[in-house]
């Protein structure tokens, strides 16, 4: 384990050294063993040859039992240092002669008995037995013992050489491997250094140096490529960061600027509102201050006229009338200016009511008859059959018609002024269209441009010739806009003019058009009556033709109708508009009428709204059980439906009158320029 954690450098050195030393030791040892074995073999051969020679030489002595001769033969062995013992045995095994190097006594290790001929190694000695023969007959046995001194010396010497050799070569291997391991370890260590540098300093610009084209070289290449990529990304990231910072700063600045601007705007708005309030107050006061003396002028001149006529001084009557007319003209100017300022201040409010269109037309024509007669004009009226009721601000409709008709009369001399009224149907709604056509002086294309602008009479000369404030058409235009209508003119100079005004048959105010969520919490009695004053009926039916028919029918009865195509929508709308009553179909996909009825009646806020079932399903008992007020079977008897809804309206109105008097609709002092039916103050009760 310790080895594993060594540095690559050490590991490489160690591996090289171990490998080379082991190989060296192995080869040396095998060589040594081989040499020693063969040397021992040589020694053995040599000893056996010696034994043969000595045996030959001492055969005679054995034959002749000449001990001395035998001993002498043996003594020749002194020259042989290795041989430590030589013994001649007689055939019976008794020692005949002997030789012991360095001693005369019989060594204890002599073999106790004769062995077979041959050699063997016993206890570090080489022993040889040799049969001594004479003429083919065994006469004795020779025993030789060698201490193998030569062999052990050689072995020792060889071992020493080996050790020295191994040590020296080990050292050499260490030296060489320490030098050469750098080939592998240096690039790796360099790579490691580079890596450390990158990770410590976060400096992606450094690169590892590639030394060789081997695997490590490729590794370094890969590493460098990786670094380049990281560096690129880092640079990109940094520049993005920089951009982001700059952008954030810019945004902050922008926000600051905007806030400033907003504040300035708010201040400006407050100032403007303040100025506007001041203007309104000023106008209100001015109109009061101007009207008071005018009141006296007009009043006294009228009074004087009456008195003068009574006393018979007819010649003064004309002058008094001129005073009166001028006073009234001045008053109409003041009124026009006041109207415009009211429109501009957003204070002009629509007072919507339903009225007979024919009646208004009749009124206006009667009113303007004198004006028409003055220039010798005749007024023709054509009222289409499909025109009957409309719902709008009657005062403003009157004023629009008055302005158009009086203009027509004013600019036409001995001609015809015709009024054409019809009902027009477009994709989204019904319109009442009033068309006033004259045969007068007409309007040029250039004059048309500013026709509906304030104080922009077609021509300055016209103002001198015909009089007027130049506000009439501007006010007319604004009134038409207020009621979401359109006004346009077609004319050529000296060809007469056609003014067309198109108003919705059912004018609605902004507030009644979009159901207001804040009304949701109020009592149903208060919320179903929109600002237009119309009671709302909610029609829930999946059949579009039924919805359409019901809507038309109920609208004619002067109800505001909201229709829902399914139960869910129906319940949602019921919550939103709090209708006066609900008509409900039974057979509908998803959520049938019974379910809707059940849900309506279990909602504490909606439970009080009466529900009239309108269905093909004949199950009145079920409907009434679930809480429906009435049960009508399709096809619906319209008269009965009308009676039922009227009954609910009456019930509701009586509730309103009790705690909150029905507001009176009122027609203001318009226009004072002439005695007109339109200026008459009328007081009517709604419903």
């Amino acid at each position: 384990m310790i080895l594993q954690n060594l540095s690559i450098k050490r590991k490489l050195t160690l591996i090289t050294m171990l490998t080379s030393s082991l190989a060296l030791i192995l080869s040396s040892v095998s060589f040594l063993i081989y040499d020693l074995v063969s040397f021992r073999h040589l020694l053995t051969q040599d000893l056996m040859t010696q034994a043969e020679i000595i045996g030959y030489n001492s055969a005679g002595a054995l034959e002749f039992k000449d001990e001395a001769a035998a001993t002498a033969t043996l003594s020749a062995l002194t020259a042989k240092e290795d041989i430590v013992t030589a013994v001649l045995y007689r055939p019976d095994g008794k020692i005949f002669a002997h030789y012991f190097r360095g001693s005369t006594t019989l060594p204890s290790y002599l073999p106790s008995r004769l062995q077979d001929k041959g050699y063997r190694y016993v206890g570090g000695y080489l022993e040889v037995f040799h049969d001594v023969t004479l003429n083919g007959e065994r006469v004795g046995t020779l025993f030789l013992q060698s201490n193998m001194r030569q062999w052990s010396m050689r072995a020792r010497r060889y071992a020493s050489i080996l050790i020295v050799f191994v040590l020296v070569s080990g050292l050499f291997a260490f030296f060489v491997s320490s030098r050469l391991q750098g080939l592998i370890s240096n690039p790796i260590l360099h790579l490691e250094d580079t890596m450390r540098m990158v990770s410590t300093n976060k400096n992606y610009a450094v690169r590892a140096v590639k030394s060789y084209g081997d695997e490590i070289g490729r590794l370094i290449d890969g590493f460098n490529t990786m670094l380049s990529e990281i560096q690129q990304r880092d640079t990109a990231l940094q520049s993005t960061n920089g951009e982001l910072k700059t952008r954030t700063q810019e945004l902050e600045e922008e926000i600051f600027h905007r806030k400033q601007t907003q504040e300035e705007l708010l201040n400006a708005k407050h100032a403007a509102e303040e100025a506007n309030r001041a203007k309104s107050t000023f106008l209100a006061n001015m109109s009061h201050e101007l009207r008071t003396p005018l009141n006296a002028i007009i009043g006294y001149s009228e009074m004087l006229e009456e008195e003068t006529r009574d006393s018979g001084k007819i010649e003064n009557v004309q002058d008094l009338r001129k005073i009166q007319a001028s006073g009234k003209h001045l008053l109409s100017l003041i009124n026009d200016v006041l109207d415009l300022s009211k429109i501009e201040a957003g204070k002009m409010v629509l007072h919507l009511e339903s009225f007979e269109v024919s009646q208004v037309i009749e009124e206006m024509v009667t009113t303007l008859q004198p004006a028409a007669a003055k220039n010798g004009n005749s007024i023709h009226v054509h009222l289409a059959d499909n025109v009957n009721m409309m719902r709008a601000d009657i005062t403003k409709v009157r004023q629009i018609l008055f302005n158009l008709l009086s203009n027509a009369c004013k600019f036409t001399d001995h001609g015809t002024v015709s009024v054409n009224v019809e009902q027009i149907k477009t994709a989204d709604r019904d319109w009442i269209q009033f068309q006033v056509r004259d045969t007068g002086i007409g309007i040029s294309a250039k004059q048309k441009e500013n026709l509906f602008q304030e104080f922009a009479q077609a021509d300055a000369s016209i103002a001198r010739k015909y009089g007027g404030t130049g506000l009439g058409l501007a006010i007319t235009h604004r009134f038409v806009q207020l009621m979401k209508g359109r006004i346009w003119v077609e004319s050529e100079p000296s060809q007469g003019a056609v003014f067309t005004v198109r108003l919705p048959a059912q004018v609605v105010t902004e507030t009644s058009e979009s159901a207001q969520p804040e009304s949701a919490g109020k009592a149903p009695a208060a919320s179903s009556e929109t600002k237009t004053g119309l009671e709302t009926i909610l029609v829930i039916d999946d059949d579009p033709s039924v919805r359409d028919l019901m809507t038309r029918f109920l609208t004619k009865l002067d109800f505001h109708v909201v229709a829902a195509a399914n139960g869910e929508e129906g319940i949602r709308l019921a919550r939103q508009v709090r209708p006066l009553l609900i008509t409900l179909d039974v057979v509908m996909p998803d959520c049938d009428g019974w379910t809707v009825l059940n849900r309506l009646k279990s909602d504490s806020q909606l439970a009080k709204i009466p529900v009239i079932m309108v269905t093909v399903v004949d199950n009145e008992a079920m409907g009434l059980d679930l809480g429906a007020s009435n049960y009508l079977i399709k096809p619906v008897d319209r008269d009965r439906l009308a009676v039922l809804v009227e009954k609910h309206r009456v019930t509701r109105s009586s509730t309103i009158t009790d705690d909150n008097p029905v507001p009176l609709s009122y027609v203001a002092d318009r226009p004072a320029g002439s005695k007109t039916a339109g200026t008459r103050v009328s007081r009517t009760r709604r419903n």
Partner: protein
């Protein structure tokens, strides 16, 4: 002869209106401020009151409210007269209990029609 109480602070208007009303055959009682108007409404028991709204000290709204709150005068019809043509004035007039409303300068024909209407209603 039917009696009309005219509450009006402007002398010219008062003079002119009262003379014209008298020419129409009404007997006219004049009051130049609200307090006098209140007193005269009680003492003279007029058949109708023409009430100018912009009066010094106690304004016409206040006078109308007091008159309508008093059982002895609450039945007398009141026509408010104001120089302002704002819609809020109209609503205010009915809120205060006025029976009708007209703007100044008075168009005498229109005003006398209103007077006639209210007096006829009362007779019924």
């Amino acid at each position: 002869m039917q009696k009309i109480l005219l509450v009006e602070d402007n002398e010219m208007n008062r003079d002119m209106l009262s003379r014209r009303l008298q020419r129409r055959g009404y007997s006219v009682v004049n009051a130049e401020d609200g307090e006098k108007g209140l007193l005269l409404a009680r003492s003279e028991a007029p058949d109708l009151i023409l009430m100018d709204i912009s009066l010094p000290a106690m304004d016409g709204w206040e006078v109308t409210r007091l008159l309508k709150a008093n059982p002895s005068t609450c039945h007398i019809p009141i026509i408010a007269l104001t120089a302002h043509a704002w819609v809020t004035d109209r609503d205010k007039a009915f809120e205060a209990g006025c029976d009708d409303y007209d703007t100044k300068p008075v168009e005498f024909g229109r005003l006398s029609e209103k007077i006639e209407n209210l007096l006829t209603v009362r007779k019924l």
